[in-house]
């Protein structure tokens, strides 16, 4: 192949790759599985009994807790899910009357999960039912998902010296969701803080509650739009930023911020090496026998 042809081919390949990538990156946003389930959490109903924590512990066969689930002293500090507790309830004092607000935290099961996007080994799956599950056998414990998650949800089994993996709520997928049953926390909740159903229905129900009782609720469903929408939605009587929600995360799925970058990776890793190796080979072709210190080149020079 002539040098000119090679360069031409490279240019065409490069342009093609770039176009292909940019086309993918600007593609329409994923609307989500139509039959996905969700949970609507109504913070105005929660009394902080921690039954959901106990139910999760039992259902997921987690080790016995450090303190009883009756122990209210845990509300002294703000907790986040751990490898031993996939859901925790926190207490917030707000400017609103009517006592403290309790908020249950667990994986929100995003429509476009950042954990899934960030996972190097494809351990994560977003199921048709809406659960974001993961395969611990594949997990290499890199913790990229912990960094990627906008809600700080995935926990890590730091206690395991040899096989630490990520741990988080899986919507009771294995034992309940895939059989059409609500997760354990929903079933135990005495106050019906948690409503389980089709996500699209829950969004309607949430708006209806706000419409019926505009004085009771903030006019917003947290999770309807945040980071591209989540499977777990929250209604609150107190402003969301006062009860531990990050109201600055925006409505763009996390993947939108990294999609273009991720699209470049194949080009950088596959096309560039080939391209630049080609350049290098071409530019050094004529000098290939004239390296300094090469005994053959000395001989060649000496010959005539």
């Amino acid at each position: 192949m002539k040098r000119r042809d090679f360069l031409k081919a490279c240019t065409i390949c490069g342009v093609g790759a770039t176009l292909g990538v940019s086309k993918k990156a600007s593609g329409a946003s994923f609307e989500g599985y139509p039959e996905r389930m969700g949970v609507l959490v109504d913070l105005t109903r929660c009394v902080g009994c921690r039954s959901c924590e106990a139910a999760c512990n039992r259902e997921q066969q987690l080790p016995a807790p450090k303190a009883s689930f009756d122990d209210q002293s845990v509300f002294g500090k703000k907790r986040r899910p751990t490898e031993w507790a996939y859901t925790v309830v926190n207490r917030y004092e707000t400017e609103r009357e009517g006592g403290p607000v309790y908020r249950k935290i667990q994986c929100n099961h995003c429509n476009e999960p950042a954990c899934l996007t960030s996972c190097l080994v494809n351990a994560y799956t977003k199921t048709n039912e809406g659960a974001v599950i993961y395969n611990p056998k594949v997990c290499i414990g890199c913790r990229a998902c912990m960094v990627a998650c906008p809600f700080n949800v995935p926990a890590y089994s730091y206690s395991s010296a040899f096989n630490p993996v990520v741990k988080k709520c899986i919507f009771c997928y294995d034992t309940r969701l895939k059989n059409g049953k609500p997760p354990a926390c929903v079933e135990i909740c005495p106050q019906e803080v948690l409503s389980f159903g089709y996500l699209n229905d829950l969004i309607k129900i949430g708006h209806e509650r706000i419409r019926e009782m505009p004085d009771k609720y903030v006019d917003h469903i947290y999770g309807e739009k945040e980071v591209g929408g989540t499977g777990w939605l929250y209604l609150s009587g107190a402003p969301f930023d006062q009860v531990g929600f990050d109201t600055t995360i925006g409505n763009e799925p996390i993947i939108s911020n990294v999609k273009e970058f991720l699209g470049i990776i194949p080009m950088v890793l596959v096309i560039w090496p080939a391209l630049f190796t080609g350049f290098h080979l071409l530019s050094t072709r004529n000098q290939s026998h004239s390296h300094h210190g090469d005994p053959h080149s000395d001989q060649e020079v000496a010959k005539p």
Binding site: V74, T82, P182, E192, G197, R209
Partner: protein, 176 residues
């Protein structure tokens, strides 16, 4: 027969029916009700129906729009201002014991235009109705004031005798 006679007969029949149903309701009215859906964790709650009737006197506080009282809730009034009392009186007649089972969800979904898709389940209805009133009127509000736990319940909540021991606490895991 003219139209007036028709109306008269109809009216008399209607009155007779209403009286009869009211009577039968009174006859079937239980003095106490066993709430045992959480029997695997808690002792049965023996709800003293007669006692609450003596105390509150107004059936409509719990039996909204069922026992002859008109609809009072402002949201319900929008459509049911002129609706009569419904035939169903029991709580579980409207509030499903399994509000999130696949079957209930399917049923709710079959008519998406229905307004009553967001009806509380039985457990939620009890707790919200009872606790709300108890808080206002000084009734018992602690969980175990109404339903003491069984041994299984203590195990479930890691409470009582099954609470984690202090020694274990010392060598236990980090923050939880």
């Amino acid at each position: 027969m003219n139209a007036v006679t028709h109306w008269l007969i109809g009216g008399v029949l209607l009155m007779a029916l209403t009286t009869a149903s009211a009577d039968s309701r009174a006859k079937n009215m239980p003095d106490s009700i066993n709430l045992d859906s959480m029997e695997h964790l808690y002792e049965k709650v023996n709800f003293n129906h007669a006692g609450h009737i003596r105390l509150i006197k107004d059936c409509a506080v719990c039996h909204h729009h069922t026992t002859g009282t008109l609809v009072e809730d402002t949201n319900c009034v929008r459509c049911h201002n002129n609706s009569g009392a419904t035939a169903v009186v029991t709580c579980k007649g409207c509030h499903s014991a399994q509000p999130f089972s696949a079957e209930t969800i399917r049923k709710n979904r079959s008519n998406l235009k229905a307004y009553h898709n967001d009806k509380l389940g039985l457990k939620g209805a009890y707790h919200q109705n009872c606790t709300g009133c108890h808080v206002k009127n000084g009734g018992p509000t602690g969980c175990q004031d109404c339903h003491p736990r069984k041994k299984e319940g203590d195990a479930f909540y890691n409470a009582g005798e099954q609470a984690p021991k202090a020694q274990e606490k010392g060598k236990s895991r980090g923050n939880q």
